[in-house]
């Protein structure tokens, strides 16, 4: 068996581990908000996460994946050294996996995305020198680490403000909620369809402009909002008016709990679209080298690889993430369906916009930003903003650690192999 096949096999194992870790931690954290608000039961949350995440990975995961493998370092500089690219990506995967593993057990809220980015940078610096690293891209990514939680906070806070003013603060909030439900469904479906069109169709190389995409989406979203309105009212009648409401929600909260099912699917989809790339990106680069025995300037990520990555994330969530979701569900009872809806909508929109821009943002950190945004509108219970310091620290620590670790591992691998 040749060395590159062994590397591919080992890298696949590490990649699967990183993907499973994303499912067990990042995705489980994101879906915990739905379990916390009792919008979804634990089983429903697992089912929604696995399916929507898989769809996100397969339909919309490709765009970010190509950024991870070629956006940070220019593979053209390694055109005569395909083995070095392969070993470098392998070292990057191991470094990220190791760092996330260590951080998870020491309670540091690190981002898998940042770990991968740092590790790829580390290998890039050592293999082709600091000049080969697209520092402009790194700065753009680093800016998005600050901008994306801020955007999540702004969108979630803004939506919460409007909902509080137009729905919760009026004398008959249930009627107001029913009145505005189609608009909210329209908004969520619009962004969801747009992201699918822009990203999923990008993979299929369609000849469709942005203008026509938007034109196509509006009637679809309108139709969805009409159908959704009926569905929501039927669900509310079924769950809140006719029978007992075991979650203890008021009718308007019950309505938002139904809407939150939609945003929960949306978050899991966005996770798949964005985060599967973290584990699969370097693996795709290795696969490309092994397959073509050369360095491709444009790495095509095979669909089956995205599918396997999505399944690994789902598997990780199913095997280990349920405990995380259960704990979060029990601990954060402060999240009501209204708050959960706003936070999830704000977070998912930000993730998808960033993902569209090719910026690998940390999903969990964006969600934290969105939750804080609702809190800033005095919408949350007691929030401990000291966690933001920890997140900041994790940003500062993750990059140097993974850069150095990837450099050491890359050096070791080139010496040994």
């Amino acid at each position: 068996m040749s060395i590159d096949v062994i590397v591919l096999f080992l890298a696949s194992l590490v990649g699967l581990y990183v993907a499973a870790n994303i499912g067990a931690n990042d995705l489980a954290n994101a879906m915990g908000t739905s379990v916390g608000s009792r919008a979804l039961t634990l089983k429903q949350a697992v089912l929604v996460s696995v399916i929507a995440n898989l769809l996100g990975a397969v339909l919309a995961g490709g765009h970010v994946t190509s950024t991870i493998s070629k956006g940070i370092i220019d593979p053209g500089l390694l055109i005569n050294e395909p083995n070095n690219l392969m070993l470098g990506m392998f070292a990057a995967l191991i470094s990220a996996g190791l760092w996330v593993h260590l951080a998870t057990y020491s309670g540091l809220p690190v981002s898998t995305t940042h770990a991968i980015v740092g590790a790829v940078v580390g290998f890039g610096i050592l293999s082709v020198g600091p000049g080969a690293v697209s520092w402009g891209k790194i700065i753009a990514i680093a800016t998005s680490w600050v901008v994306s939680p801020a955007a999540g906070a702004a969108i979630a806070g803004g939506i919460f403000y409007l909902i509080e003013k137009r729905i919760m603060s009026v004398r008959d909030p249930y009627t107001a909620a029913v009145h505005y439900a189609p608009a909210l469904i329209f908004l969520v479906v619009l962004v969801l369809i747009l992201s699918v069109i822009f990203k999923a169709l990008k993979n299929l190389h369609p000849e469709i402009g942005h203008f026509y995409a938007v034109l196509l989406t509006i009637p679809c979203a309108a139709l969805a909002s009409l159908v959704g309105r009926k569905w929501v009212r039927w669900q509310v009648r079924l769950k809140c008016e006719l029978g007992p409401n075991p979650q203890g929600h008021s009718p308007e909260e019950c309505l938002f709990a139904q809407l939150q099912v939609l945003t929960a699917c949306y978050v899991a989809f966005a996770h798949g679209a964005n985060d599967v790339a973290n584990a699969i990106g370097p693996l795709a680069a290795i696969f490309s080298v092994v397959k073509t025995k050369s360095v491709a300037l444009q790495v095509e990520v095979p669909l089956w690889m995205l599918l396997v990555g999505g399944m690994a994330v789902g598997g990780g969530l199913f095997a280990f993430g349920t405990r995380v979701m259960e704990t979060i569900g029990k601990n954060i009872t402060e999240i009501t369906p209204v708050r959960g809806f706003c936070a999830e909508f704000g977070a998912a929109t930000t993730i998808l916009v960033c993902s569209r821009l090719g910026l690998p943002v940390s999903t969990t950190h964006v969600l934290v930003g969105a939750v804080v945004g609702v809190g800033l509108m005095r919408g949350m219970g007691t929030l401990d903003l000291r966690i933001l310091k920890k997140i900041g620290l994790s940003w500062i620590v993750t990059l140097p650690f993974t850069i150095v670790l990837a450099m050491v591992l890359y050096k070791l691998l080139t010496v040994v192999l």
Partner: protein
């Protein structure tokens, strides 16, 4: 296991505020029992009741300290933290005044003149409802800050109006009683003891009203 979202949320201080309000309510009942017992006859269980009030006061103090200790800088709440602490302070002062009133009663055993015994009983009766209502107020506010429902806010405002009304009635009774003390009692020592006692009992309702005013500021839009 990475529980990033979990670590973002802290236990709501309203849970402890409710416990504190319940202690205040419990104290109000004991105070009523002790006052009736002390004013009417030779009260054998007065010391026991005073001890129970002191114990409740110390438990409530512990809850208050706990609330304060667990709201450091960097905590984001649905209400202004300053107003929240102001509310807590006023609710705690209700307890302090109840304890103080118990002490003042105990300073002169069988020291309540028969002429004003019934009026003093009325005054004590008048200050109990606003204290009891504080517990309902906190329960309603907790729900309001969770749902931000206008209906809930209206209920709180109505309760605040009730408390203000109770306080006015207590104020009125307090003034009448002071007139009566000066008019009927000649012994300066007794006058001093009675006037001070009546003022302290009156202050119980004042602080309950102050607390409800702080709550009004907390729910202001």
């Amino acid at each position: 296991m990475r529980l990033l979202l979990s670590s973002l949320f802290m236990k709501s201080p309203f849970e402890n505020l409710q416990k504190h309000a319940d202690k205040v309510k419990e104290c109000a009942h004991l105070f009523k029992e002790a006052a009736v017992c002390h004013i009417g006859e030779e009260c054998k269980k007065f010391d026991l009741l005073t001890e129970q009030v002191a114990r409740l006061e110390s438990e409530a103090d512990y809850i208050k300290r706990n609330i304060r200790n667990h709201l450091p800088r960097g905590i984001l709440m649905p209400v202004d933290k300053f107003q929240f602490f102001q509310y807590l302070r006023e609710q705690d002062k209700v307890l302090d005044e109840v304890e103080d009133a118990m002490f003042w009663l105990s300073f002169r055993p069988r020291g309540i003149p028969d002429e004003i015994a019934a009026d003093l009983n009325h005054l004590v009766d008048a200050v109990i409802p606003p204290i009891e209502k504080l517990s309902d107020l906190v329960a309603l506010a907790t729900e309001y800050f969770r749902t931000k429902s206008e209906a809930q806010r209206e209920k709180i405002k109505s309760l605040i109006r009730d408390i203000r009304q109770y306080e006015r009635e207590a104020d009125h009774l307090e003034r009448e009683l002071k007139f009566k003390i000066f008019a009927t009692i000649k012994d300066a020592l007794v006058v001093f003891h009675m006037i001070r006692l009546v003022e302290i009992v009156g202050e119980i309702a004042d602080h309950a009203q102050n607390a409800s005013d702080r709550m009004r500021a907390m729910i202001a839009r």
